[in-house]
């Protein structure tokens, strides 16, 4: 049994410790918001926060995150989370939407460490999260909008 803290709840899961966190979230805990896309940490669709750090859950063995505070798109809260969601909705950012949880989780980490990112800060933080629909310009605008609002 592995004990996990996800979205402020504690879970016991009985899985192979090598199982990527992604699949534990999706299949064991019923949290499918975190997406499988590349499986090798190349695309960012699976990003979650582990102790506040944006982490690619498809290449993170569940054994490595024991006792750490894990946050998924379903549990993203607080001023930054709210500001991002509002900005995403206002800008109608998603198209197919599949990569967007990873985009939002990555953006949340950026705003937590850099409340007023420039375009190039955003590009640097976000360029590892791929969007085949090409929503990048709307994502950049939404991050700026959220940055203007998440200040408390």
């Amino acid at each position: 049994m592995i004990e996990l803290r996800v979205n402020k709840k504690t879970y016991q899961v009985d899985v192979d410790p090598e199982t990527p966190l992604l699949w534990v979230l999706r299949e064991e805990l019923g949290l499918p918001g975190t997406k499988f896309s590349c499986g090798v940490g190349e695309c960012g669709a699976c990003v979650v926060h582990v102790d506040g750090e944006a982490t690619r859950s498809c290449v993170t063995p569940v054994s490595e995150v024991k006792g750490k505070e894990i946050t998924t798109i379903e549990g993203l809260a607080g001023a930054i989370g709210q500001a991002l969601r509002d900005a995403w909705i206002e800008g109608d950012v998603p198209q197919c939407g599949y990569c967007q949880p990873g985009q939002i989780m990555t953006a949340a980490e950026l705003l937590a460490s850099n409340p007023h990112p420039s375009d190039s800060d955003i590009d640097a933080a976000m360029s590892g999260v791929l969007c085949r629909c090409g929503t990048y310009n709307d994502i950049r605008r939404a991050i700026h909008r959220a940055a203007g609002r998440s200040r408390t």
Binding site: V15, D16, T19, P20, W23, R26, E27, E28, G30, L31, P32, G33, T34, K35, F36, S37, C38, G39, V40, E42, C43, A45, T72, I73, E74, L84, R85, W88, I89, D92, V93, P94, Q95, C96, G97, Y98, C99, Q100, P101, I104, I122, D123, A124, M126, S127, G128, V129, L130, C131, R132, C133, G134, T135, Y136, N137, D138, I139, R140
Partner: protein
């Protein structure tokens, strides 16, 4: 456009029914055939009912919720919102009360252009426009009549507005929800006035997408997210060489691994069925499989190219032959010739191919992110031996489609597996299988010739190209009768009847020559020749299909003609597009908006292109720079599009911008190459997608129009590659004739 009174023409199914809830509605058949035999244009009523069902597209509940039934797959193009807007406009619905629901399988939901229930070819809005407007308007008039009847006043004294009916003189109002019960007993009007464009309050406005909130909360359900009781998860290994077969396998180790339930050869390869995906994947890696490579073991991009170079020396099928081409070439003052080559392209859908099926003795449910409900339905009927009524296809959100999900190979696997193991099974492909066993945009080889007169004007033009037809793969999948490759015999008959409409469609403009044989430039002596050759690599529809290749070839070569004749590439096009006013205007406006006549800033160079995709012209002016290492940076794209009446400008902008990103990946980043009979790429490390920092600024200018809407999902792809290539020529003097453009092509330039 005048509001036209219309006869619904489908009066037979424009009937009112009144059912107790959602479950009953799903079972309610609105089939055109079934309805035609019905005399009833009156309501079906039942005790305690709370939902008004005036037609196949609209349901109104007593709490005022308007549910629009959507018969097209939502893969990011915003179709849930666009179709709802069309209904809501004519219905005079309160937008805050509008919800959507994906249509079930029913002939009434067939795409009129294909004759089957499927999404593709940028057809959704274009084919729904009239029908949904009429459905909305008829329902509006029904509700007005219900209110008038309630008040005992003439209908003409009442009007509908934002979810309620108003009796002007007495200032009485009734909400739509309050009229549900009354309306359910009344006939649906079959002649109604459609609104004037000037009166539109929803169409043409930047309405918020209906799927955004769920997609930002991780709540949207894609195929990969489907969860049902007792679900097993499978992954599939396909023969690594195209056209190969499973010879034998040793599953002794894999079978003993945790969670593994079954290891089964299936029609497409070999599947591992386990409790969980990771277990299936690990076991698949542990399988020892002996594959028969078949005839393609030595196939490579180089061997395909060599074959095509040789084939292109002969003439091909003449798809177009205007004037006297040979004579004109002889008379020309100057002849130019160029060879263009394009590679295979993968779709790279963010959500890997997947499908969930639950086959039981008396029924089968399939949950699938598909662009092809009918194909999925037919395949499931054929595999299970159940009747069409016993098989239900549930369309989830699609994590990208781009044409790939018009094929049903992954659905076949899930249904086969569930049928065999007698449990619900979700098949999820790994990314590696998804890339390697994509049905690629075909590679192609093009020989272009032009003859110029003494003033540098083109008088003769010949375009000869060699490639497989992307539709062949689809026809094969849809029509088992002509599909010997991998589908087992027992599947063949049932899907045959799918073949006719699809094959018909293959002959239409979207076939292998689309964008080449219908090029709009007025050149008196013009020939287009096609040499069909299928090297054995699986191909399929890829966003904007053949137009993605032909726009690159034709628009690049037009710039070569301009350069050879000493003419301005914009002016040359404007001179030759006099008989294509929409393209001409799109190009003229794009050039103006981009400031074509002014010089760009130091180190930045411009290129342009214009192209028509199924009646939607788009033009682009791009600004690029090329650094000393040959790396291309696309800074800005100014684009115009003329898609007729715009439903939602935000969606048009998003589709054009997204298509530019999609096209840029193929222009400056990635391709599929073949070696040893297989794709040499397998994930986003070797098939990289455009990233945020590479994304140009995009300006979309929509040409105002009151014409009927055309499509918007694909037209943004074709012009971007030639516009970039033309800008690179302006920057470096180097003519790009193959894609993707690599720094090696331009280094030291």
């Amino acid at each position: 456009m005048n509001p036209m009174p219309f006869d619904t023409g489908r009066r037979e199914f424009l009937r009112v029914s009144f059912v107790a809830g959602v479950g009953l509605v799903v079972g309610c058949a609105f089939s055109r055939e079934a309805a035609a035999s019905s005399q009833a244009s009156q309501s079906l009523t039942s005790e305690g009912s709370d939902v008004l069902v005036p037609n196949a597209w609209i349901r109104i509940s007593k709490n005022g919720t308007v549910t629009v039934v959507i018969n097209h797959s939502e893969m990011g193009q915003g179709i849930f919102t666009a179709l709802s807007m069309i209904v809501a406009e004519e219905l005079e619905a309160d937008w805050s009360k509008v919800r959507t629901e994906m249509a079930s399988m029913d002939p009434v939901y067939a795409n009129p252009e294909f004759g089957v229930q499927a999404t593709g070819g940028s057809t959704s809005v274009r084919t729904s426009w009239d029908e949904l407007r009429k459905a909305g308007a008829a329902t509006r008039e029904l509700l007005v009549a219900a209110a008038a009847s309630t008040w005992g006043v003439p209908s003409r004294e009442c009007r509908a507005k934002a979810g309620k009916v108003i009796h002007s003189s007495s200032r009485r109002t009734l909400l739509y929800g309050e009229l549900v019960e009354k309306a359910a007993g009344m006939p649906v009007p079959d002649r109604v006035q459609l609104k004037k464009h000037a009166d539109f309050k929803i169409i043409g406005k930047r309405m918020p997408r209906l799927d955004t909130a769920d997609k930002t909360r991780g709540k949207a359900v894609y195929g990969a997210d489907v969860r049902i009781e007792g679900l097993l998860t499978a992954t599939v290994l396909h023969p690594p060489v195209y056209g190969g077969r499973l010879k034998s396998f040793d599953a002794s180790k894999a079978r003993s691994m945790p969670g593994v339930r079954h290891i089964l050869p299936i029609s497409t390869g070999i599947a591992v069925v386990a409790d969980r995906f990771w277990q299936a994947k690990k076991a698949a890696e542990a399988l020892k499989v002996d594959w028969d490579p078949g005839p393609n073991a030595n196939l490579s991009s180089e061997s395909i190219r060599a074959r095509w170079v040789s084939l292109a020396k002969q003439s091909g099928d003449r798809l177009r032959n205007d004037g006297n081409v040979d004579n004109a070439f002889e008379k020309a003052a100057k002849n130019i010739e160029a060879v263009y080559e394009l590679p295979f392209q993968a779709h790279g859908c963010p959500e890997p191919m997947n499908c969930t099926a639950f086959v039981r003795k008396d029924g089968c449910d399939v949950w699938v992110p598909t662009q092809n409900q009918s194909g999925t339905h037919e395949i499931a009927v054929a595999i299970t031996g159940l009747s069409h009524d016993q098989v239900r296809v549930h369309t989830t959100f699609l994590g990208g489609g781009f044409g790939r999900r018009g094929d049903v190979d992954f659905a076949t696997e899930a249904v086969e597996l569930s049928h065999t193991v007698q449990a619900p099974v979700k098949v999820i492909w790994t990314r590696e299988e998804d890339i390697r066993h994509d049905h690629f945009r075909p590679a192609s080889y093009h020989v272009l010739r032009a003859g110029l007169d003494g003033k540098g004007r083109p008088i003769a033009f010949q375009h000869r190209f060699v490639c497989p037809s992307y539709m062949d793969g689809t026809i094969e999948i849809m029509a088992p009768a002509i599909m010997p490759r991998w589908l087992p015999r027992f599947l063949k008959n049932a899907a045959t009847r799918m073949a006719v409409p699809i094959a018909k469609y293959a002959k239409s403009a979207e076939s292998a020559a689309s964008g080449a044989s219908n090029m709009a430039y007025a050149i008196d002596h013009l020939r287009v020749e096609y040499i069909k050759d299928d090297p054995g690599v699986p191909v399929g529809a890829w966003r904007s299909v053949a137009n993605s290749r032909h726009a690159f070839v034709v628009e690049s070569f037009m710039d070569e003609i301009a350069a050879a004749g000493g003419r301005d590439p914009l002016q040359l096009r404007l001179d030759l597009l006099k008989k294509a006013p929409k393209q001409l205007n799109a190009l003229r406006v794009a050039a103006h908006k981009a400031g074509w006549e002014k010089k760009p800033q130091e180190g930045v160079f411009r290129g342009l292109a214009v192209h028509d995709f199924h009646g939607t012209p788009a033009a682009m002016v791009v600004e690029v720079s090329v650094d000393k290492k040959g790396k291309v940076k696309v800074h800005r794209v100014v684009c115009t599009v003329d898609c007729g009446t715009v439903i939602n400008p935000k969606t048009v902008e998003a589709q054009m911008t997204g298509a530019i990103a999609f096209g840029l990946t193929a222009t400056v980043k990635s391709s599929i190459t073949i070696g040893k009979g297989r794709a040499e790429q397998s994930n986003f490390d070797d098939f990289p997608l455009l990233t945020m920092e590479e994304m140009p600024a995009v300006e979309v200018h929509i040409i105002p129009s009151a014409a009927a809407p055309t499509g918007i999902g694909e037209v943004g792809v074709p012009p971007i590659a030639p516009a970039v290539a033309n800008a690179i020529f302006a920057a470096s003097g180097k003519r790009i004739r193959t894609l993707p453009i690599t720094s090696g092509d331009l280094a030291g330039g």
